[in-house]
């Protein structure tokens, strides 16, 4: 019995190792590339032979990358704040209030969750050029917040639904207006859910590529994923692979740290909306 148990445990341990390796392989490879000296870049070695920070130094010297990094952070942050704010309001209404038109809202956000972004690229390209939004921050913030709103509304309303109804009734009887009930009772309880949602939305915005390459044309609003795709390297004679890898690491590491720090919440957030609906 004990031996079977041990063999069992060993089996799970192997499975765990396989899973971890599976998850980390490409990350390691891009990290390895980013530390490779230009002379060994093409050696195909799994571990760098000559370590160097040059690739990082190189990209931070070019405005192409630093400007894109600022764009990425700024655009994703603003889109996250707006999407979470609007999503919180709508999710509260969906989870807590009775009003006609609720089904319509749920249907609309479901529709957008399934919407193929490419379908919007052509018309948005034309509309934004006409409105002067093309190649600006707002030009990217708008589609980002729109496409993350359904995510925000679902996740948040799932969190809101877990707050017991009676609390709001109690607040009302205690003399609160519906708005006060929201601000003083529900909002503080919902804060963890809001925070989780913000992480998910930020990752979503941070990850986008299609809008970033379609709705920008210069450095003024191009985000890192798009900039990477247009990298030419810090010097003409250098293969851009090292720069691309370094830039990739710069936008990957903070997200991974974030994900690791808040993994429990992220798992809860990712699954709550989908399973409980």
């Amino acid at each position: 019995m004990a031996r079977a148990g041990k063999r069992h445990a060993a089996g799970w341990a192997v499975a765990n190792v396989v899973v971890v390796a599976y998850a980390l392989f490409p990350v390691w490879w891009i990290a390895a590339l980013s530390f490779k000296d230009p002379t060994t870049l093409t050696d195909g070695n799994f571990v760098p032979v000559k370590w160097t920070w040059d690739n990082y130094r190189g990209i931070f010297e070019t405005a192409e990358f630093t400007r894109a990094l600022v764009n990425s952070i700024g655009i994703a942050l603003i889109a996250t704040v707006i999407a979470v704010a609007l999503g919180t309001m709508a999710a509260y209404a969906v989870a807590r209030l009775r009003f006609p038109g609720k089904r319509l809202l749920i249907g609309l956000s479901l529709l957008i969750a399934m919407f193929p972004p490419i379908s919007l690229v052509s018309p948005l390209f034309d509309i934004e050029r006409a409105l002067g939004l093309f190649d600006t921050w707002p030009g990217l913030i708008l589609p980002y917040m729109t496409f993350s709103l359904p995510l925000a509304i679902y996740t948040l309303s799932a969190f809101f639904r877990e707050i017991p109804w009676d609390l709001e009734k109690a607040a009302k009887v205690d003399g609160a207006t519906p708005a006060q009930a929201f601000r003083l009772v529900i909002a503080p309880l919902a804060a963890p859910g809001v925070f989780t949602t913000a992480i998910l939305v930020f990752i979503f915005c941070w990850n986008d590529f299609l809008f970033a390459i379609s709705l920008t044309s210069t450095q003024s609003a191009r985000t890192v994923p798009a900039a990477i795709a247009f990298f030419t390297g810090s010097s003409q004679f250098q293969q851009p692979a090292g720069s691309i890898a370094a830039a990739a690491m710069v936008i990957t590491v903070p997200i991974i740290v974030f994900v690791l720090l808040f993994q429990r919440r992220i798992v809860a957030g990712l699954t709550s909306g989908a399973v409980k609906g």
Binding site: N16, L33, R98, S109, F209, Q263
Partner: protein, 302 residues
Amino acid sequence: MPGAAAAARLSAGARQERRLGWLLCAPAVLVMAAVTAYPIGYAVYLSLQRYDLRFPDRAEFVGLGNYAAVLSSPFWWEAFGVTLFITVVSVTVELVLGMALAMVMHRTVLGRGTVRTAVLVPYGIVTVVAAFSWQYAWTPGTGYLAALLPAGEAPLTEQWPALGLIILAEVWKTTPFMALLLLAGLALVPEETLRAAMVDGAGGWQRFVRVTLPLMKPAVLVALLFRTLDAFRVFDSVFVLTAGAHGTGSVSILGYDNLFTALNLGIGSAVSVLIFLCVALIAFAFVRLFGAAAPGSGEGGR
């Protein structure tokens, strides 16, 4: 008319609640409508025009001409076939792998946290970054994986190997998400029910097929629906890995190329609308055929 009477008798509280509900939803609805409904309508309008960005003055109404051009073009059908292939294969593999992963996460006791954390890494990574990693890995010269292949092989320049690698990149990136959704579904299966099945004489496989799967069917369907729609929109990985060359372009790539390479807004919009219709059809089929509980449909009445 009890309805009218009730409406007339709505107390201050209910009226306040109703107004607050509308007020709270209004900004979200306005944004969503302005950024999606209006452009998609505009896309339909554009798709009925001959509208070449190089010759903006020659724009004119051509009816369904653009659609005829797209649907009679081999490029559309190739892209459509490629997209369908990528979607079906990657979602199938993801489902199987994701289920296995979910089981590992559900059952394992030791190092549970490590596995969960590791699994979130692909989710957190920017798709483009992952795609570059795969690209370099498979490109002769920079790649460790390409080095394992016979000399002279460049998998990303041949249709089938390239498609396989695109699917690999997609599967790597999204299996964790699938696994997490399935894990949440697994958690809905009561341990006691499984014990009861064990006492009733069901083996491991029977328990999985006859108890676990039916009980987590809603979670599976929701995960499948979301992943299918997501896979059908595949763009980032294809763009980075092959840029759609060698017969690997998805419909999204086709739409993008029509707009930015051919600079043809009319045709590009027609492609956009067609993709939108495909996605709507898939979603409809899921809900109809499998009765997938669309998230949110359950609470509509509340």
